[in-house]
């Protein structure tokens, strides 16, 4: 006798034999996790390829070995430093400016980049024609971003006017080092040769210009070491630097965040599938109770019986994971298309064996983990069931081991999210969030089904009542189906609502007489002429604000140098490096509220210190208190100030808002420029007004909120596409769980329908009952998802965006109908065998 060991070969053989008539069903169970595994493998592979590509292409992202950035030109010692670094260098000056298409008359704010030297040293400007990349450097020509070319239907050979200079369009710029589809949407670039920059007349005092210097070193120079050595000197001259290694780390970090986020979304789909598997296995095991009892009767140990089914699940787990990994590797080939607008480099799609390994391990582990709670009940199946059949053994809720397993599942979710996020607090929040979301979905689903059952009119016809009653048949999967389909619906709806909230908010801010055009960089001597143009075109100027640029020199008598090395003043040190754009006025605006101290709008010349007001958040971040003194440098003149009040500012309004506000009576004579806010009633007036301004004053930049809306919409569509792609995994998983559940309960339905047909029901009536059942299921799931997404979006609108939330009714109705009808369709297609089977066949059917 061989009763003291588990007799593994026999267990394997029994698991194989027992699965004989259930293999298609087992495969169906596991199909729920295939998509989740596929999503993870695809994303892990993407991560792997991203890492590899970043490593290989990092130099082409900055186009040089070293890049220095500053917001003022180098001169004196800093120039000497830049000159001494390497002979192979290039310079770039970039600023926002209006560009004017002379042929079509269109104009738009763009990022103008004047370039000198052979930059980029690694990679190249990708242009059409290819030669344009070289030719534009020596002629009065420009490379224009393809977004702009498309928008204004411009062609190579046309002209654009930047400031006072008209440039020929040498080529369409398809890609520049480090640029992405997104950057070209938000801030399209125009490259011009440096030698024509001065002629444009745009380099005036107060212009915001970014200065960049690119260096190439001989191969034997350790650039990283050199940059580290020179770092204190760079800092002293307010220069930031980036090396290839630094770029690698920065780019790697951002894409790691992206792939981690996508992996978590994929994991949610996997979890949904796993719940589907657990629920299906629960039913499977209930059907297996009599076989288990027979085996127990013949002398099989409880653990052996348990292991037979564990082996089966392990087998299908491995098979499902392998299929998932293959599918994931295939899906990975499409991911570059999904995220191409976010990529600053070429993405390859090589097969990643580590990613496949990870996917397989997670798939096998998670399928076993989720299958175990229903499986542990096998240990409790009594051999006595052969004499008296009973199904009371299959309640894992009463088994302490099942609770241990539930704990392990939570631990697994936590472990997985920790591996993605690397901080236990975020992993805890994610795990809590997932459990919370499932619980809320489950509770909402249960409440809705209870309400429908409780208040369903008893007077309705039998068909309706039977369709509803079917949701409560024994071993039903109503809850899991509502949760999975509901979650998919909630994800997609929330995305839609969020997009709607943000777009509506911007639309709202431009409605009525709210400003919708912002003009900035208006010089002192241009102010009156701009007002005159506005008046002539009947465009009201809502606001005209003076802006003075200044730098901070001291806080409470301490300079930037004094904060050097003071690790406790981390936040304070940063406030010195930047340029402040400050206004002066005697009163607060409608978007501000004094929260602390006293507003002093007019300077009393007898006071030694000028009372200023700071934005509350800025003061807190900079650790500045009321009564602190600050010395500002305005073009060489020192202004000693005292912080007299804090303001809360609503940054969401189309308004000019400031961190620092001076009183009147101080800055009136300082070098300044102006910002005007206007409202144009229609696109035609807007175009005419903008053209008039740009033609006469090319240095003035214009932000058209209608354009911002379009850009915002475009960005949402790009981000939305990625999220919809990932949400698709959850929705598809929901559909597979639905198909699996329909097929699993098919025999039960078959018996019911045969009974009904025996009692005289027509084929049409049975069809109606089945359709109604799926309509109830789909509509409850859709309603659960929509309700949750409305609640979620409302919270987002109220607490995060501080905006009104008024969802449109028709899209919601459309989603509701789509999800409900899809569920009915899938349900009916998979139940079609039930309607056509002759009743007699069922009598001989093996369960």
């Amino acid at each position: 006798m061989n009763q003291n060991n588990f007799n593994f070969p026999w267990l394997l053989q029994m698991a194989w034999r027992d699965s004989r008539k259930n293999r298609s069903r087992l495969l169906l169970f596991i199909s729920s996790i295939i998509l989740g595994i596929a999503a993870l493998v695809a994303i892990y592979s993407l991560g792997d390829n991203l890492r590899q590509n970043i490593d290989e292409q990092a130099a082409t992202l900055i186009g040089a070995d070293l890049a220095l950035y500053g917001n003022k030109p180098v001169k004196g010692k800093s120039k000497a430093l830049v000159d001494s670094l390497s002979k192979t260098r290039s310079e770039e000056r970039s600023f926002a400016s209006m560009i004017y298409f002379t042929k079509g008359g269109g104009n738009r704010l763009a990022q103008v980049k004047a370039i000198e030297g052979d930059y980029p040293y690694y990679g190249k400007f990708e242009t059409v024609p290819v030669t344009a990349e070289k030719t534009f450097r020596t002629r009065k020509e420009a490379l224009v971003d393809q977004t702009l070319m498309l928008q204004y239907q411009a062609k190579v050979g046309d002209s654009i006017k930047i400031g006072e200079v008209t440039f020929g369009i040498a080529g369409i710029l398809e890609k520049a080092p480090g640029s992405t589809g997104l950057t070209s949407t938000v801030a399209p670039s125009v490259y011009i040769p440096m030698q024509y920059l001065k002629q444009t007349g745009l380099m005036q005092k107060g212009s915001r210009v970014a200065y960049r210097y690119y260096f190439k070193f001989p191969a034997n120079v350790d650039v990283e070491k050199l940059a580290k050595k020179l770092e204190p000197r760079f800092e002293a001259f307010d220069l930031d630097y980036k090396t290839v290694q630094g770029q690698k780390e920065d780019t790697g970090r951002s894409f790691r965040d992206l792939t981690r986020f996508l992996a978590l979304v994929g994991f949610v789909a996997l979890l949904l599938g796993c719940i589907g598997v657990a629920s299906a296995i629960h039913i499977y095991i209930r059907e297996k109770l009599s076989s288990i009892a027979i085996l127990r009767c013949l002398g099989v140990k409880a653990t052996q019986a348990f292991l037979i089914y564990v082996i089966q699940i392990l087998g299908i787990g491995i098979l499902g994971s392998v299929i998932g990994a293959v599918l994931g590797t295939a899906i990975q080939q499409f991911l570059p298309f999904v995220i191409r607008d976010f990529l600053p480099f070429e993405l390859t799609t090589d097969i990643s064996w580590p990613a496949i390994g990870q996917g397989l391990a997670i798939g096998v582990l998670i399928s076993i983990l989720f299958a175990l709670p229903p499986l542990v009940s096998i240990r409790k199946v009594s051999p006595l069931n052969v004499l008296r059949s009973s199904t009371d053994a299959a309640n894992p809720g009463k088994d302490p081991l099942a609770w241990v397993l539930y704990g392990l599942i939570i631990l697994f979710i936590f472990g997985f999210s920790f591996l993605q996020m690397r901080t236990w607090i975020e992993a805890l929040i994610f795990t809590g969030g997932i459990l919370g979301a499932f619980l809320v979905l489950y509770a909402t689903a249960s409440l809705l089904t209870w309400l429908v059952r409780r208040f369903f009119p008893a007077s309705w016809s039998y068909l309706w009542r039977q369709g509803l009653a079917n949701l409560y048949r024994p071993n039903n999967q109503t809850a899991i189906l509502i949760v999975s389909i509901g979650l998919g619906t909630a994800l997609v709806c929330t995305l839609f609502f969020t997009q709607d909230i943000l777009l509506k908010r911007v639309q709202l801010s431009t409605s009525g007489n709210q400003p919708n055009i912002v003009l900035f960089d208006i010089q002192n001597n241009q102010k009156e002429a701009v007002l005159a143009i506005a008046k002539a075109q009947h465009v009201p100027v809502n606001q005209s604000v003076s802006i003075v640029n200044m730098r901070l020199e001291e806080v409470n008598g301490r300079t930037a140098a004094d904060f050097e090395g003071d690790t406790t003043a981390e936040q304070s040190r940063r406030i010195f490096g930047r340029e402040y754009r400050v206004t002066f006025r005697d009163s607060t605006t409608s978007t501000e509220k004094i929260t602390k101290g006293k507003w002093q709008g007019v300077y009393n010349p007898s006071s030694a210190l000028i009372p200023i007001s700071l934005e509350e958040g800025f003061a807190n971040r900079s650790r500045i208190e009321l009564g602190d003194t600050m010395v500002f440098n305005v073009q060489g003149t020192m202004m000693s100030t005292v912080v007299s009040s804090f303001r809360e500012v609503n940054w969401g309004e189309v308004q000019t808002n400031f961190l620092v506000v001076f009183p009147t009576g101080v800055l009136e004579e300082a070098p300044q420029f102006h910002v005007m806010l206007t409202h144009v009633p229609d696109p035609q007036t807007s175009a005419t007004f903008q053209q008039a301004i740009v033609r006469q004053f090319p240095n003035i930049s214009i932000i058209d909120l209608a354009l911002v809306l379009r850009v915002l919409d475009d960005i949402f569509n790009k981000i939305g596409f990625v999220i919809r792609f990932m949400a698709g995994f959850s929705i598809l998983t929901g559909i597979i769980v639905l198909i699996a559940s329909v097929l699993i309960s098919k025999y039960q339905r078959l018996q019911e329908s045969v009974l009904l047909r025996t009692l005289g029901a027509s084929r049409k009536q049975i069809f109606a009952i089945t359709a109604l059942e799926y309509f109830f299921l789909g509509s409850l799931a859709a309603l659960t998802g929509i309700l949750l997404s409305i609640a979620g979006s409302w919270s987002l609108a109220k607490f995060s965006f501080e905006a009104e939330f008024s969802p449109d009714v028709w899209p919601v109705v459309a989603v509701f109908l789509f999800v409900s009808l899809m569920t009915v369709l899938i349900g009916l297609v998979n139940s079609r065998g039930i309607l056509s089977r002759p009743p007699l066949e069922v009598l001989r059917q093996d369960v």
Partner: protein, 222 residues
């Protein structure tokens, strides 16, 4: 002759809240090895419960059950499973074949559980004895009720049990098939020298055994 099964003061009481239900009350009897015995009684008299206790499928509330010298009361579920595999064979009213296994595999399972080798010829031989050698690769659903019960007989004798428990073995069969199955049962039993315990309310079938225990209201009445 040796005693193979010995029951002393065996009772089985079910509790449901405050209520108690005595299904078996102070049962005492023993069976000699290689003998045949029937337990008869009306529905609900406790026959099947008694069979479950004798075969180690259930535990008594009080009293002792000793099977082939092993006291079953103190054994855990796995030890009981080992005893069943070693000494006991079963035949059920509803055949209880594993639906996913062929006739041959169903017969082989008890032997495989023991880890025995070269079992296929033995299992085929048994199927031949019950007249189903030609159907060895058929699944239970492909067999008639009588054929399924014959596979069940072959399985019951495959591990050469010391004692065979048959619970209404002809309960689901027509008269003609019943007769054939009963003949096979007794022939195989005689050939193997196995103790046979029959539970039935068919008095004609019971009369074929050497001894009859009548049970009513949970008590042996004669």
């Amino acid at each position: 002759m040796d005693t193979i099964l010995d029951l002393k003061q065996v009772s089985k009481i079910y509790k449901s809240g405050e209520r108690t239900l005595t299904v078996l009350d102070n049962i005492n009897f023993s069976i000699a090895a290689q003998s045949t015995l029937s337990i008869v009684g009306p529905s609900g008299s406790g026959k099947t419960t008694l069979l479950g206790l004798c075969a180690g499928l259930d535990r008594s509330t009080s009293g002792t059950v000793e099977l082939h010298g092993t006291r079953l009361n103190g054994l855990n579920e796995d030890q009981l499973a080992a005893v069943r595999n070693q000494y006991v064979g079963f035949i059920f009213q509803n055949f209880q074949l594993l639906p996913t296994l062929t006739a041959l595999e169903n017969v082989m399972v008890p032997l495989e559980l023991r880890g025995e080798k070269n079992i296929k010829p033995r299992a085929l031989d048994l199927l031949d004895k019950v007249g189903l050698a030609e159907r060895s690769h058929h699944y239970p659903t492909q067999l008639s009720g009588g054929e399924q019960q014959r596979v069940s007989l072959a399985r019951a004798f495959s591990n050469q049990p010391r004692i065979l428990f048959a619970d209404e073995p002809t309960g689901n069969l027509d008269a003609e098939t019943s007769e054939k199955v009963v003949k096979l049962l007794f022939d195989l039993n005689k050939e193997a020298g196995t103790t046979l315990v029959l539970v039935t309310h068919d008095l004609d079938l019971a009369a074929k055994t050497q001894r009859i225990i009548r049970i009513k209201g949970g008590k042996i009445v004669e």
